[in-house]
């Protein structure tokens, strides 16, 4: 059993991708599966900052949203091809992450969470005001990508299953990158900053710069998720930048398991599936989600996947 575990964790990217390849076949409809992929990636980006580095941001909607908007603007207003739009959205989100992070990291301890919320609200207002580019309250419409040409092969982006696997290709790439970072020397530094930043500094690590780098990486990954979302929905709703969307990232991460590799996807899947089911019975989904979240904070802080891992490791010991 232990060998099986070790094998899986050494090839965690492949394991997760395999699960995700099979995933749409067990979901009631493809759009939900695509949504879970996208929000799973969003949660992975958030998890890098919160679960692994210990920085609780309440402003991550700024990266999902700006990634979506920048990709959308590139396509709608700039007529750019899909791959340039994705690059623009991801890079743009990273730049916003650099600016936000440089300010937010100056706030020590718990102030950090408050500042990220405030700065994300600022980004929201900026995009809201620039309505000739973003469509303001109505969001950005017409982000239409019908076909994707890769190595001469034309893929139909409108067909849900094809769309899912195209999005999965990007998610897999991002996951591979995150896995490399976590396994690298920098990944070890991230852990020391989380565990004991005073000690990390005494050992010679520049804690502030490390935090900023992780912040930017996190922003880029969430930005990529945003670009994929824009392409998937063909619109960019203003709610993408709203504080509630930041809350989604927090909730999915906690529900799934902070600081675990697969947890964010579990969290996204559970959250979105539950939303899908509950909203058919009642429109008071927010109440359900709030209560569930409170229960998890009090009783299951490791989250679903985190608890499973913990239980499995205890049985091995």
């Amino acid at each position: 059993m232990r060998d099986a575990f070790d094998l899986v964790s050494r090839h965690r990217v492949a394991a997760v991708v395999l699960v995700l390849i099979a995933f749409p076949w067990v979901m009631p409809y493809e759009a939900l599966a695509i949504n879970i992929l996208i929000f799973g990636l969003f949660a992975v980006g958030f998890n890098l900052l919160f679960g692994y580095t210990g920085m609780l941001s309440f402003g991550h909607a700024a990266f999902l949203g700006s990634g979506s908007y920048l990709a959308g603007i590139a396509i709608v207003h700039g007529g750019w091809p899909w791959y340039a739009a994705i690059a623009a959205g991801t890079l743009g989100a990273a730049v916003i992450g650099l600016l936000m992070g440089a300010l937010a990291i100056r706030a020590r301890g718990i102030y950090f969470s408050m500042v990220t919320l405030a700065l994300a609200q600022c980004v929201y207002y900026l995009f809201y005001q620039a309505d000739s580019w973003t469509g303001g309250e109505n969001g950005l419409r017409g982000v239409r990508v019908n076909a994707i040409k890769v190595f001469g092969v034309e893929l139909d982006f409108v067909h849900p299953m094809t769309k899912y696997y195209i999005v999965l290709a990007f998610v897999a790439l991002a996951l591979w990158f995150v896995s490399r970072v976590l396994a690298s020397p920098f990944g070890a530094v991230i852990e020391t900053v989380r565990e004991n930043d005073r000690r990390a500094a005494a050992c010679g690590y520049d804690v502030a710069r490390t935090r900023l780098v992780v912040f930017v990486l996190s922003a880029a990954i969430c930005g990529l998720a945003g670009t994929l979302r824009a392409l998937h929905l063909s619109v960019v709703p203003i709610e993408s930048l709203h504080y509630l969307t930041s809350g989604h990232a927090v909730m999915m991460c906690l529900l799934g398991g902070m600081g675990t590799f697969f947890g964010p996807f579990v969290g996204a899947a559970v959250f979105l599936y539950l939303e899908d089911v509950v909203t058919t019975w009642t429109k008071h989904w927010m109440l359900v989600v709030g209560v569930v979240f409170i229960v998890f904070v009090l009783f299951f802080p490791r989250g679903i996947w985190g608890s499973i891992l913990h239980w499995a490791r205890r049985r091995e010991a």
Binding site: N196, R199, D206
Partner: protein
């Protein structure tokens, strides 16, 4: 070359109206073992925190190997070759004992490398193993640091400080909370370490340090009261007065 490795020039630390350190000037020679002693509230911790980079002094300078390093950020100190251990154990609790030391060793090798798998950096692992052996923690290498006994954690503190290959080792009450046997072992370790590098030790258990140190610095009410060899300090009338009944 008789340039002192570290010199404190007129160090003062003010908190509002309270002066925790008052114009302390003292220098430390290379490869010596010096102890800083004084009664509680003497300013030992404040002085330690200033020379180890945790605080910026209100006035005065810290000179390391001839360079003014006053106000340098904390992380610069280890890179320059000044390492410290904390009075209240400060390690990476959830990481294994081995990983604690390995990541500290890694600092000299790479800090922002995001793509190399760190498992492939075997020389770091070996260095960490050697350090663990030096402080006697080889057997505990896989246990999470939080699970170590107090005395073992103090040893881990030392290992973390040694990991950055320091020229100057600053130890803040390394034997705090240790049993008599552990204390003797720690003192032996410190004497061994002092053969190859400069060590400055803050202690309030005076008997411990008098036998092993080459030089003793006495602080009192934030000021330099006396300095010299252990014999000189022991004979100093002021010191005797301050430590009345403490059995110098």
């Amino acid at each position: 070359m008789t340039q002192p490795i570290l010199a404190a020039e007129g160090l003062s630390m003010r908190y509002g109206k309270f002066l925790a350190l008052n114009q302390v000037s003292v220098s430390f020679e290379r490869n010596t073992l010096t102890a800083i002693i004084g009664p509680n509230g003497a300013g030992k911790s404040t002085f330690f925190n200033v020379i180890s980079g945790a605080y910026r002094p209100s006035f005065g300078r810290v000179i390391f190997e001839g360079r003014d390093i006053t106000g340098s950020p904390q992380h610069a100190f280890a890179r320059m070759g000044i390492a410290k251990s904390f009075q209240i154990t400060s390690v990476f609790p959830q990481l294994s004992t081995h990983e604690n030391v390995r990541v500290a060793v890694q600092m000299r090798h790479s800090r922002f490398d995001m793509l190399t798998p760190r498992d492939s950096l075997t020389e770091l692992t070996h260095k960490a193993d050697r350090l663990l052996a030096t402080v006697g923690l080889a057997a505990a290498r896989r246990r999470p640091a939080a699970d170590l006994a107090h005395g073992q954690q103090r040893c881990l503190e030392i290992a973390l400080a040694l990991a950055c290959e320091p020229k100057l080792l600053l130890l803040d009450e390394p034997t705090a909370g240790m049993s008599p046997e552990e204390t003797v072992a720690m003192m032996d370790l410190i004497v061994t370490l002092a053969r190859e590098r400069t060590v400055i030790l803050v202690e309030h258990k005076m008997k411990l340090v008098m036998g092993i140190c080459q030089r003793v610095i006495v602080l009192h009410h934030g000021e330099l009261l006396a300095e010299g060899s252990p014999e000189q300090v022991r004979a100093n009338a002021e010191v005797k007065r301050v430590y009345l009944g403490q059995g110098v």
